[in-house]
Symmetry: C2
């Protein structure tokens, strides 16, 4: 099958996947179920924010003109005309020469156009308020629509909804929004030696790791995972499994097949579909060189390495950015050791983070291929760009966390 060989860089792989993303529809989502979803339509404000002119301070609502010229040594004397209750429309008008008490958030009464902060006032008996500082019209007030006019853009299309966005939508009375449907991601582990974790493996067999860890990673990326039964290295059964998964999902992640010839079988199976289009077969990357991607109709099939750390890393590098609109969780650290790298190849090195004298240090996790315990020790990975010749101990690095 070497005629298919089409090795690309990580950047090229990402561009090829970006150009072959399965299309998806939209659906309505009520706010309480919309956290982490992406807007399929921009949202405009159905009403002005705020919807009434309100005070931004505790103090006295006045006609600004009545305060002109007053100061610390020459206060204005205004008649006390009543009190605004928070949450109520004022039931009186303030006449020239009058003022009224207004709390923060209170609705400005007719006849007033500014608020004097309580710190610059003094109440004299029941009827009089001294004003020690002049205010201009509009001072300490938020006008109708000042924050957002009616019809203004609140959130753009594609925006990933966070806690505060839901609050903003609730504040203007929006109860549901249109969001992109979540990607459905089918997961197939392959290999004659792989058995379900439910089964007691015979000597020579190992339990499936990638189905559960990739399903959890897909779930973390705000997509919907569906795992399929393990498929042995058999052309017909592999083809049937891909066919079923394509019917029920948008993306299919296949992993396994580290033994000679099996990767080729996966590709042969995928290319046997009439609409199959090879995006790439091999990435100049360590680990994860055998990663491949094939578009079949509107579905995207990504073949990941069998090794669990490599599979999760390559999922994070070439799949996650397209499933999850949240930015990856990354932290700065310094390298705890020299890390060799081959120029012309992107390296992703699993690291464990430790706090050393208040400094965050990333130690590379190196070991025989297949070490399972690296899974538990790896806090994330660092990327060594293909132009770099490795990283020196003490150099600063950016660690992308596993989640």
């Amino acid at each position: 099958m070497s005629e298919f060989l089409k090795v690309v860089t990580v950047q090229e792989a990402r561009q090829l996947i970006a150009g072959a993303l399965p299309s998806r529809g939209w659906e309505p989502a009520v706010l309480s179920c919309a956290l982490g979803r992406e807007l399929s339509d921009a949202v405009y404000s159905p009403e002005p924010i705020p919807s009434f002119a309100r005070s931004t301070v505790d103090g006295y609502a006045v006609c600004a003109e009545d305060t002109f010229g007053c100061g610390e040594s020459l206060p204005a004397f205004l008649e006390y005309g009543g009190e605004i209750q928070i949450g109520h429309r004022p039931n009186f008008t303030v006449m020239p020469g009058q003022c009224c008490w207004i709390p923060t958030g209170g609705m400005l009464p007719p006849g007033t156009d500014a608020v004097v902060m309580v710190e610059y006032t003094e109440r004299l008996g029941d009827d009089t308020v001294l004003i020690f500082r002049a205010v201009g019209p509009g001072e300490n007030i938020m006008q109708v629509g000042e924050d957002a006019p009616e019809g203004s853009l609140l959130l753009p299309q594609g925006h990933c909804l966070r806690s505060q966005d839901l609050g903003l939508l609730a504040s203007v009375g929006i109860k549901q929004v249109n969001v992109w449907q979540q990607y459905r991601v089918g997961i197939i582990s392959t290999g004659n030696e792989i058995v379900s974790p439910e089964v007691c493996p015979q000597p020579g067999q190992v339990r499936d790791v990638n189905s559960i860890s990739l399903a959890a990673a897909v779930q973390s990326a705000a997509a919907v995972a569906k795992t399929y039964p393990i498929v042995p290295d058999d052309y017909d059964r592999l083809r049937q499994a891909v066919l079923s998964a394509c019917e029920e999902n948008d993306w299919i992640l296949m992993s396994g097949g580290s033994s000679v010839g099996v990767k080729d079988m996966t590709l042969e199976v995928l290319m046997s579909f009439p609409q199959a289009q090879l995006l790439f077969h091999g990435i100049s990357v360590k680990p994860g060189k055998p990663t491949l991607a094939v578009k079949i109709d509107n579905k995207l099939v990504v073949g990941l390495p069998g090794h669990p750390v490599s599979a999760l890393t390559m999922f994070g590098v070439v799949c996650k950015p397209f499933l999850d609109s949240k930015p990856p969780s990354q932290v700065n650290a310094v390298a705890g050791a020299n890390i060799a790298s081959q120029p012309g190849r992107d390296d992703y090195v699993p690291v464990t983070l430790k706090d050393v004298n208040g400094q965050r240090v990333a130690y590379p996790l190196l070991g025989k291929s297949g070490l399972m315990t690296i899974l538990a020790q790896a806090d994330g990975y660092i990327h060594i760009n293909y132009q770099q010749q490795g990283i020196l101990s003490g150099e600063s690095v950016l660690v992308t966390r596993f989640d």
Copy 2:
């Protein structure tokens, strides 16, 4: 109520909360439902990893002694003794002077103690294999228990389960683990002017924002949120609401009451419970000074500011670290403007992140108190330590993302 006043620093507030955390029990969780949960018990491996000696390369399994002294110009001639099938226990023994084909992950057959990589071999006809490089005993093999002996610690108590941890647990046949119960967090918005987002507000009224945004933030922090009906500024109704919420939750978040005297009413209500213990009343922080915390029996009540950005920020600063064992999502950026700050006070400034000529720049979002659209624009916040006198434009800053 000023006799209660007990203003603390952010660090002190965190320590006081850390010392008053509600206790919680544990529960079993099957792996498919355990993502993001914290182990209440350490997990030890019930079996050695790997459970059989396996090859880490494709090549020929040999008795190492048969290769001693061989090299590029003087190959060892070994008799071809068969092929190991991946996933099967070898059904033959390799005799001295023999070798057999073994794929990566294949089980080592009796009589062999090393594997020669295929690159250093040559097959001659049906019966003979040339070996061009000597191997030592154990070379290219992973021994039984080499990755983790039976009974060794896989994951410590308190570990937050990530995708790869679930894979590791599955690999040793563990189907469920004991995890801490999730904190139950009750959320109460208060204020005479606040109405439910379901209701059309009358002039002077505003829709509740904090219930939905705090509930989503609690959910993001892997805890379970329960929202309660809005409570007006009324002592008896507030007390009844706190009583109900305490019965059904571990934490209670109250927010609102920006008008004069209302914060005091919240504190008065909380301190009226027989077991109430004031942790702090006020934090030397901007925004969020009126934040308070009271322990009532085994429950923790935190009073947050009413302003939505302030409420979410203070939730992130003093509550989230204790609900969520995941590290916060933070990114490095440079300040896009000078930001003033008062020494002796911790400042948390909402910022929007923009990419300017390939550099990530954090612009402070300043504006009148109460601007709702800051909610949508804020990507996160930066912390200005109480020892700092502000931040200069161009200085590097760490942005904690909202999620």
